[in-house]
Symmetry: C2
Subunit: 378 residues, 2 copies
C-alpha cells in the first residue's frame, strides 16, 4: 500500500483451505481479518449507540455514500468534523461509493459514460453521481477507506451488458484514482462481471493493473443463488494478488461468510444482522430463531449461552414479549445480538485459521445451523 | 414501616421551603430522595437497555400493572423469575395498580363497588380489575413496592363524583391491605379528591388511619392546570405524616418536580422524558430544544455541556440528522438524555436541600428554563 499508515500483513493461510489470517493496518487502528463491518447506513448502525457497536467487537464500520450524500449531505458531515466525529467512532471507517444504491434504491437511474443520473428515493429530486463526485463525497466524509464508483447491474443479465459494465467500472476506477487527493484515505477497486467467469477474471486483471491496495468483489448478492456466488468467488479470488486484502461487498448469511473465507475473502459488510434483528430473527450457533414464536413465551433460557451481548442477559421469553408488545428494545437487543454473533463468527474463523483447522470449524458451524440461516432476509 | 428491609429516614428539611432530603431503604437498595423513577411501562423503559437506564442515574424504576397484566400477563413474568429478572433490573421496582390506566387507556370502563370492568386497549377483550386482583398481579410481578387500586376520575368533575371516588379508594385500600401477603413487598396508599381541598384532606386522613408506609398523591396531571395541581399539593402534603415518604404520581415537567419538591414531595414518576425524547424534544437547563429545528443542522455543540449522557457526546447537528432521517438512534439518544436530565435535576435538588439553598436552586433552574418546558407533552 502506498499511503502512510496503511498496510496489509498476511499472517497465515489455513493448511487445508484458502482461508487467510491477516491484519489490515490503518491510521485509526488495526483490523484483524477476516473481519465483518456493521453497516452504519446514514451515520448510525441502526438501533445501536456507538458504544453498543463497539461492544459487539466490531473494529471497522461502513458508511453509505449515497445515503449520507442525500441526508444530511456530505458538507454538513464535513462541517461537523467528518464522519468519525459525526458518529462518534474513532476506529477505521470504510465508505462505499454509492454504486450499489444507485442500482438498488434510486429511481429512474440512467448511466452514461460520464455519470449515473437518478432520482432520490427520498424526495424524487434529481441527483448525479460520477466517479469524481463519489471520491469528492467520500473525501468530504473523511472515511479511511473509500470505494471507487462501480457500475452495478442486476442478475441475471447478458454478457454484453455485463462486459460493458466491467469496462466502464475500470474506466471509472481510473478516473477515481486520478482525482483522489486525501493522503489519509485509500481507495479500493471493485471487481464486476456478473456470473461470467471470463468477465470476472478480466475485471480483476484490469483493476490489478491499476494497483489498488485492496480489491473488492462487487455485484454479487443481487439475485443469484448462493452456489452461483460461491462459483464466482472460485474464479475471482485466484485472479487477485495474495498480498492485498479482499473484500466481498454486501454479503451475507453466516454460511456465506464462511464459504467466502474458505475461498480467501478477508472482509465483509452486510445489513443482514441488523435488518433481521429488527424483524425478530436471531442468529445463533443452532440456526436462526424467530423470536415472535409462541414457543419462546415462557422460555427462561437466553438466546445463546455464553454470548456476551446485552440481549443474552435476558430470557427468550422477555425478547419475545418485547417484539409482541412492539417495544423498541426488541430490535435494539436483537441487532446487538446479531452483530455480536457475526463478530464472534469471524473471531472464531480467525482462531480456527491460526490453528489450521478452518475446515473443521466450518463443519461444526454448518452442522449447528442445519441450513436454517437460509430463512434470513438479505 | 412494618416490613423487614424497608425504612424511611428523613435527613434534612430545607431551611426556607418544605423540600426534604431523605432516604427510602428497600431490600434491593437505597433510594435517595427526592427521586425520579423512569417508567418501564411494559417491562422496558422505552428505547433503553437496562444498562442505559442504570447509566442515567436512576435508582428505582416503575412498572405498569395494567400493561404487564395485559401483555405478557403476570403469570409469564412470574414464571420467568419475576419483574426484576424479566427486565434485568436488580434495584427496587415500584408497580402502580392500574387505576390510572383503567381511567386513561381502557375502553368502556365501568366501576362498581366491587371492581373495575373494562375492555383492553389492545384487543378489546373484557378485563376485570379489583383491589384484590391488583394486589395479586403485583405480588406475581414481585415488585418491591405495590400500589393500592385507586378510583381515578377525570378533572374537572363534581364534588359528588369525587367524594364517591375518595370513599371507594379508601375502601379499596382497606381491601388491598387485607389480602396483601408478600413479606418482601410494601403497599402504598393513594390520596384522591380531585381539586376539592376538603376531599384531599379527608382522603389523606382516612388513608393515614390505615397506616401506610408511604402516601401517594394521585389523580393529578389529568387535565388541570399546573397552578391547580400545586394548590392541591399545598393542602394535601400538610395532611400527610412527616415520617413517611410522599409520592406524586405521574408528574411531570421539570418545573412541576421542583414545585412539588418545594412543597415536600419526595418521589416522582413520569413518561415525559421518554415520550418527549422519542418526539425529538430535549430537556436542558436552558429550556427545551426541538431537535428537528433547522437551526441545529450544522450545530457542533452538544445538547448540553457537562452532561454525561451518550447523546451529549454527539453534536446537535447529528441528533437533528437522526430525527430527520427517521433513525431509531434519535429516540434512543434523546430518551437517554432526558432521563439523565431528570436524574441530574433531582440530584441537584438533593444537594441544594442539604445545603439549605433549595430556593436559590429552584430560581436558577427556572430562570434557565424561561418557561420553555411548558411546551413539552404530558
Amino acid at each position: 500500500m502506498k499511503r502512510d499508515g496503511f498496510s496489509f500483513a498476511l499472517k497465515h493461510v489455513d493448511a487445508a483451505t484458502g482461508a487467510r489470517r491477516s491484519v489490515f493496518q490503518t491510521p485509526r487502528g488495526a483490523v484483524e481479518l477476516p473481519a465483518f463491518m456493521p453497516v452504519g447506513t446514514v451515520g448510525t448502525v441502526k438501533g445501536l449507540t456507538i458504544d453498543a457497536v463497539r461492544a459487539t467487537g466490531a473494529q471497522m464500520i461502513l458508511g453509505n455514500t449515497y445515503h449520507l450524500a442525500l441526508r444530511p449531505g456530505e458538507e454538513i458531515v464535513r462541517d461537523l468534523g467528518g464522519l468519525h466525529r459525526f458518529m462518534g467512532w474513532d476506529g477505521p471507517i470504510l465508505t462505499d461509493s454509492g454504486g450499489f444504491q444507485v442500482f438498488s434504491l434510486a429511481q429512474m437511474t440512467k448511466v452514461t459514460e460520464d455519470r449515473a443520473t437518478f432520482r432520490s428515493h427520498i424526495d424524487g429530486s434529481l441527483v448525479e453521481l460520477s466517479p469524481e463526485r463519489a471520491v469528492a463525497i467520500q473525501e468530504a466524509l473523511g472515511s479511511d477507506v473509500a470505494m471507487v464508483l462501480d457500475h452495478v447491474v442486476g442478475l441475471p443479465n447478458t454478457f454484453e451488458v455485463l462486459a460493458d459494465a466491467v469496462a466502464r467500472t475500470t474506466r471509472w476506477a481510473e478516473r477515481s484514482l486520478r482525482v483522489a487527493k486525501r493522503a489519509d484515505q485509500v481507495l479500493f477497486g471493485i471487481v464486476q462481471g456478473g456470473l461470467f467467469p471470463e468477465l470476472r477474471v478480466e475485471s480483476a486483471r484490469q483493476l490489478v493493473e491499476l494497483d489498488f491496495p485492496c480489491y473488492a468483489v462487487g455485484g454479487l448478492s443481487v439475485g443469484e443463488s448462493p452456489a452461483e456466488m460461491y462459483a464466482m468467488l472460485d474464479v475471482t479470488v485466484p485472479a487477485l494478488p495474495a498480498d492485498r486484502p479482499r473484500y466481498l461487498m454486501g454479503v451475507g448469511t453466516p454460511r456465506d461468510l464462511l464459504e467466502a473465507i474458505r475461498r480467501g475473502i478477508d472482509l465483509f459488510d452486510c445489513v443482514m444482522p441488523t435488518r433481521n434483528g429488527r424483524n425478530a430473527l436471531a442468529f445463533t450457533d443452532e440456526g436462526t430463531r424467530r423470536m415472535r414464536n409462541l414457543k419462546y413465551a415462557c422460555d427462561a433460557a437466553p438466546l445463546e449461552e455464553n454470548c456476551p451481548c446485552p440481549a443474552c442477559r435476558h430470557s427468550r421469553g422477555y425478547i419475545r414479549h418485547l417484539f409482541m408488545a412492539g417495544e423498541m428494545l426488541g430490535p435494539i437487543l436483537l441487532s446487538a445480538h446479531n452483530l455480536t454473533y457475526y463478530q464472534r463468527l469471524v473471531a472464531g474463523a480467525r482462531a480456527a485459521i491460526e490453528a489450521d483447522r478452518f475446515g473443521s470449524f466450518y463443519q461444526e458451524r454448518l452442522s449447528g445451523w442445519q441450513g436454517k440461516e437460509q430463512a434470513a432476509e438479505g
